[in-house]
């Protein structure tokens, strides 16, 4: 596609529920990143994919968070047993590859609110 697409743009859920956030990167971009941005803060790294595999998931805060990218394109971030502290904007970005340029193209984000 023309840009990085994220759905849903807004998600309101109740504490304890399961949530999936989807990211469709730019066609041909092999590297995909998930970041989380809390109010008043800069983005915080969660996980990075190179192709289908999670090359680095060290930023995932705990085992309630999981992400997949089964065919090397679309990625889904999954959050189990959501907590109020998970409320944030979840940003997806892609780049042509993971080489040093780090020029990321961001999606518009998915705003998650956990009540």
């Amino acid at each position: 596609g023309a840009g990085v697409s994220q759905t849903p743009s807004n998600k309101v859920t109740e504490k304890g529920k399961y949530v999936e956030l989807r990211c469709d990167p730019i066609s041909g971009h092999t590297a995909l990143y998930w970041y989380r941005q809390s109010l008043g803060q800069g983005p915080e790294f969660l996980i990075y994919f190179q192709g289908t595999g999670a090359a680095d998931d060290s930023g995932l805060p705990n085992d309630r968070f999981f992400a997949v990218r089964p065919e090397g394109s679309v990625s889904t971030l999954k959050i189990q047993r959501t907590e109020r502290g998970d409320s944030a904007v979840y940003l997806c970005a892609s780049s042509l590859d993971s080489s040093g340029a780090n020029v990321l193209t961001f999606g518009a984000g998915s705003r998650l609110t956990v009540l």
Binding site: G3, Y33, G40, Q41, P43, E44, Y48, N102, A108, G109
Partner: protein, 109 residues
């Protein structure tokens, strides 16, 4: 630990005045520094990176390794420069970016 600090949460200047958004980092290796910008209701996007040594929309930024700074400057601010600005650090050309908390720039008419 590696860190990026943007000391000003909010910076307000008049149109035509010079602008400097401060960014300091802590990292002992070879840093790669970036400025990203987010205009109102738009996505986060790259403004410039130090390795390119370019001027974008009249903005420049010089990496000062001695002072561990990468301040963003523009000699004459324009109203369309109003936005959130984020400084980000990549360590040794690693893919992972470490971000500052951002500075909201408001250009008054």
């Amino acid at each position: 630990a590696q860190r990026v600090t943007q000391p000003e949460k909010l910076l307000s200047v008049f149109k035509g005045a010079p602008v400097e958004l401060k960014c300091n980092y802590s990292y002992s290796g070879s840093p790669e520094l970036f400025w990203y910008v987010q205009y109102s209701r738009q996505r986060l996007q790259l403004l410039l990176r130090h390795i390119s040594r370019e001027s974008i929309k009249g903005f420049t930024a010089d990496l000062n390794k001695g002072e561990t700074s990468f301040h963003l400057k523009k000699p004459f601010a324009q109203e369309e420069d109003s936005a959130m600005y984020y400084c980000a650090l990549s360590m040794d050309s690693n893919y992972q970016l470490i971000w500052g908390a951002g500075t909201k720039l408001i250009i008054k008419p």
